[in-house]
Amino acid sequence: MQFGTEARVAPALAIESLTYAYPAAVAPALRDVSLELASGELVLLAGRSACGKSTLLRASCGLVPHFHGGEIEGRVEVAGIDALASGPSELAAAVGYVAQDPETQVVSTTVAAEIELPLEMRGDPPEARARAVEEVALALAIPHLLGRAVDTLSGGELQRVALAAALVTRPQLVLLDEPTSQLDPVAGDELIWLLRRLNEEWGVTILLAEHRLERCLAAADRVVAMDTGRIAFDGPPRDFLAWAQEADAALETPAARLFSLCGIEPLPVGVRDARQTLRGMGVDHPPHLPSRRAIDSHPTEPTLNAKALWVELDAGEGPRDVLRGVDLEIRRGERVALMGRNGAGKSTLLKAAAGLIDPARGKVEVPAGIALLTQNPSDYLVRERVEDELPGEAGLAALRTVGLERAVDADPRDLSGGERQRLALAIALAGRMEGDELPGIVALDEPTRGMDRARKDELVELIEGLSSRGAAALVATHDVEFAAAFAERVVLLGDGAVIADGPAAEILSGGWYFATEVARVLDLPGVVTPEQGAAALREGGL
């Protein structure tokens, strides 16, 4: 790797032998990382949780080490600028950074001011700022948001505003840390293709860290996979799938898993690729099979009963009907995914069921009680010892339910992300169980944010365990693959009303956005997981 060579165009990002440890960390977060991104590339950064993806992005924009401190060795250059010698502000013109949580990356009160801020800091004249803000707003299809206050925006809108603020200076390199983790499937897909368009039309180099690889693999030129702070793979998407098949199955996409179960080569990088391969093999119209996952009958009284439920909320822009006449019954033992676009009313329905919000009209009843875990499990953890959060026998019973009985003496902050989530659930359950009998309904709001597939599989096990013990599990989620893994029923909300309610296999194979990757590849009613897809293809004579 060459640095500072005048005869060639400087790469958008050049990292050489980078090793970095956070202050007081036991082990380095990055170990001997070398990476070069040519101008105009769109590179996907893959890897399990805590493998070093976010740290690598932060080192690429100067936050590491300038903002976080710690010990660092090696070299980082962004568009020819030494990132270790210059701080993030000096790099601001060359690199834009979009973090996972959009709420922590807005510093102004209005959208226009937020987008304009980097230009103002740089000292651009007002007329240049006006034009740049207008153009980036048009490019991201958000001119209608410019006059809005940022605290009235949805997660998806906020993410676009953050991206606009990162792009407004026309940087050569844009870094994105799981930008779709809080977006519904529609907004997530839109964002990925928007990035591809910006990459192609504006020539922006993009480094994108993501867990939901099936969403963005087809848009990437190249994949870099990390493992415990090192680069474990660097190559084209198709080679990455072959590598993941051998090295880490948790990184496989559903379509690739479908193909590997059927022994089909080459592995597909996306839906279109998979369909073309199947068509080439003569599997153009797979047989239509009956739905395989009908809802099991649950002949019990409803444990959640909403009748003509209307909820009105005011987020600062006047009252708005968030739920509009919702009728819904859920029975003990059911596993239900609550899906819909950002702002469709999923969280509001859960909060109304838990009594946090009063209905404007209609009613919602939970006769056997409800335990609700909201989107931020850390909000439940206010003490420094697990046993102080959950004292007594009832607390221990709740800990046993989530498999954390051995952690009674631990500090909640020392637990892993998944364990903290389970502890928060135990806090919500404590005292709502009669002996070991669970409350009628256990509700989780967006529990898979920032989770890799291994942690999602653990969560599926936990939900199935709760369900087998008699509780209904109601989970609001944007993650269609996760929904396909745990749910037997899907309720789809649209603009505050129930627009679809039925068996998960039927709902998740009957559309385009709210459908799994396998469903989109095969287009077979009732086939949503790789295992079901492989069975269907085998039945079809493949």
């Binding site: 100067g62 936050l63 903002f67 701080g87 502000s89 000096e90 601001a92 834009g96 709420e103 922590t104 990356q105 510093v107 102004s108 009160t109 209005t110 226009a112 001011a113 980097p118 103002e120 800091m121 740089r122 000292g123 004249p125 007002p126 007329e127 700022r129 006006a130 207008e134 707003a137 001119p143 410019l146 006059g147 206050a149 605290d151 603020a165 990162a166 005011d314 987020a315 600062g316 822009e317 946090l356 335990a371 875990l373 909201t374 931020n376 909000d379 206010v382 003490r383 102080d388 959060e389 959950l390 004292p391 009832a394 607390g395 709740a398 806090i427 919500a428 404590a430 005292g431 709502r432």
Partner: protein
Amino acid sequence: MRSPFAYTPRPGPLQSASPGAAVAYLGSLAAVAFVYSNPVMLLATGGALVLAGRLAGAWRAVRAALWMGLTLALLIVAVNALVVDRGETVLVRVGHLPLLSDVITAEALAAGAVIGLRAAVVMLAFAIYSACVDPDRVLRALRPLARRSALTATLVSRLVPVAAADAARLRDAARLRGPAAAPAGRAPLARRLLAGSLDRAVDVAATLELRGYSLIPPPPKPRVATHIPRYAWQMRFDRGGSRGRNGVRWCARSRSRYDRRFYAVGAVVLIAAAAGKLAGADAFAEYPAVEVGTGPATLALAALLVLSGLAPRTPPTQTASTSPPARGRS
């Protein structure tokens, strides 16, 4: 539901004023609360702030601050009465208890009330500041002073909005705890809120660094008539409406025509407070018996303080106008 302390853009004089002018005005009243102990003066200062908040359209913030401030004041009164045994007027004899006073006196109650009232008045001033002063303008105003510390700037300008959002989430989570879980409790919640807000402030400060906050600001250019293109969304702001007015940033809103008013009122309050102090307007003694001075100097200064609460009043000519209120310099 937004926090009552969150900034809400409105076309009033206090919202239009530069952060420096608003701080000079509200700070002068807070300074009186710190310097004076005479309850008449503290009540007058509190009255001025209630009036100012009402006229500035920050009534929700005023009510919330009054509720919090008076709750805190009651707590201080109770604690002071239980631990201080000075004073001639014994109201109750409680007997000997470790660390506590044997008697509750009227003077200890009065002394606690003064301390509590002072805290409530300061909270009122801060609540009105938070609800009426645009954090964006504070951020820009701080840049020349705290360029190398985005975190300082973030804490000053964004801590209240960030903490308000976090507090709402923590309240929900506390209500969702199972009945057998330890109650969240005010102290653990407050610790968690502070720690969480500081963590999030660090994240916001990182974003500010990435936006170029630490760059050396360019030298100010001489003001010349420049054609600035008007885009559709800017014109929407120009027409007024609650959504967009605060969005216009092209005209540097470093000053407002109301600035002089607030600087002047702040200066008058401070000068009068200093003069009143010299003239004995702060005559007050808690022990051995409560004595509250109500001389002419005290009453005159109290009246002046209450009148200072009229400073955020919108001029009648502006309310009669059919055109949208002017933003920015005038």
